[in-house]
Symmetry: C2
Subunit: 315 residues, 2 copies
């Protein structure tokens, strides 16, 4: 490890744990990843999991850590209560919760809640990605609709640094359940991956965007195509993914866009699929890398929580 | 058992087995049900399962049996190849397949296939219910759109005795996967039942019918309502069911109706939910009991296959 770490940045989700040592400028000095997400860590002890990884990275026992994600949920390490929208995004640092009963200064950032009976919704972790994306792109000026693909895809409206509302689609989880647990499992094959360049993907995006009410019918048609035409599993997966993403875009773009710029906040294969889907529909958009964004968000929060150790982080 | 059985009627699905002894008029003399569906029967042997139940009912070894459902699939007892739509519904009896290698005369009825690349679809068992419903109601005259709720809900257009097309929605299976396997499992509770009279059900039907593109969002909102407002599992299940059925109706009614009369072919709790959903949307419809319909369909097929033993079945 070259350079001096200013703090540890931790993204602690339901099923994954990631930690980076960052210097005062927010650059990565070292990193570790594991599958010790919320459930595993709850058994082993959150402090022990964190300390084991920090020790392996050679971090000083006094190095501060800033954490985002499900570790701050009621079932997590220590609850960091949701901030209600509308809220300024940079308020998450000021509402971080310091972990009790340990020597190392560890802060957990709060998630956001939409406390409305009709559109009740929550996020934990995405708010920190958004803070980072906003910091890197335009520092929150303007009117942007963020698309954040995932197990639970988020669409977030950010106006001049304030989150005005958001909505979550179960797209990724339903895809995985269809592949693993449904009658379509055999049709879809053992793999989970989808080729964003498959013509069947783009065609399915258009079909479901045009007729989202047929989503449950499109699903079963995959079985019909397999039984009657011997369609291959890779094509079936491309279609399934395209139907789900096409319907998600039909539900999120018109209602929430309203003049906002579209920004895709994603990484890897899922990012490629959503980019292809947006292109297929002719939706102009920019992209931000989600991995970089979460580190930038944690760095910005750390700078606010520990101004002394991270001064210069935004120089 | 009073009266003399003319034949055994068997509805053999993926997960259930049902057999009735019917007299020449199609009336039920005796019945048995078990969970020896396709998968279980494939292990134990189809002939053995059928003979065990018929013996328990005291049926003569020469009594003919007529079977519908997944037993006729490629993974079943013996394949009864699909009839392609459009097809006259009463053609299924003429295309029944006699089981080889056993003494008892057993015939399996074929399913229907829609051999179209865009809307590939299949059914096995529902065609026999339809034949029975048509026989009981109007003998196929007129233009009817049948709604057949289930794990895989079918919408079938029947014009003057000819099935012109159909579509399958994965509504019931997705409902079950959400309750049992998804992140919503805790929110939805251990039970599966839904109260058709719950105001939350009707409200969800309307919401999803109006905005079917939001189906995946409506799902996740159940989690938000549970976390933020402590909403109960019974309400969450009513909403989940309402969203799925509302979206199904949005996808099936306008495209397929086109002047056809709507007929709900269902039984029990699922029939009550769809009836309430149709009423909520102001859709005029009639109802036929699915259990009676499948027996009537098997009786009609038996009369065609074995005219001698069932003569008078339609007197």
């Amino acid at each position: 490890m070259s350079g001096t770490p200013s703090f540890a940045a931790v993204d602690w989700g339901t099923s994954t744990f990631r930690v980076w040592l960052l210097d005062a400028a927010g650059d990565v000095l070292a990193e570790r990843r594991s599958d010790e997400g919320l459930r595993t860590a709850a058994e082993r002890g959150f402090a022990r999991v964190l300390e084991t990884h920090l020790e392996a990275l050679g971090a000083d026992p006094a190095l501060p850590a800033v954490v985002c994600g499900m570790a701050g949920s009621r079932q997590g390490w220590q609850e960091a209560r949701y901030l209600d929208v509308p809220t300024r995004l940079d308020a998450i640092a000021g509402n971080a919760v310091r972990i009790d009963g340990i020597d190392r200064p560890v802060h957990i950032l709060p998630g956001l809640a939409q406390r409305d009976r009709q559109t009740a919704d929550v996020m934990r972790g995405e708010e920190t990605q958004l803070l980072g994306a906003m910091t890197r792109e335009d520092d929150g000026t303007g009117d942007v609709l963020y698309c954040m693909p995932g197990t639970h895809s988020k669409w977030v409206r950010l106006r001049d640094g304030t989150v005005t509302g958001f909505s979550t689609f179960m797209t990724g989880e339903v895809y995985a359940l269809m592949v693993r647990e449904s009658i379509l499992a055999q049709t879809l094959g053992d793999a989970m991956d989808v080729d964003a360049d498959a013509p069947a993907f783009a065609k399915a995006v258009l079909a479901a965007h045009d007729e989202p009410a047929l989503l449950m019918r499109f699903f079963f048609a995959l079985r019909g195509s397999s039984l009657l035409f011997g369609e291959e599993a890779t094509v079936a997966r491309a279609r399934l993914s395209g139907y789900l993403i096409g319907a998600e875009l039909a539900g999120s773009l018109p209602a929430e866009r309203d003049g906002a710029a579209i920004r895709l906040l994603a990484s890897g294969g899922l990012g490629a699929l959503y980019k292809r889907a947006l292109d297929t529909l002719g939706v102009t958009h920019t992209s931000v890398d989600a991995d970089e964004a979460v580190r930038a968000g944690l760095a910005r929060a750390a700078a606010a929580i520990h101004p002394a150790v991270t001064e210069g982080a935004h120089s």
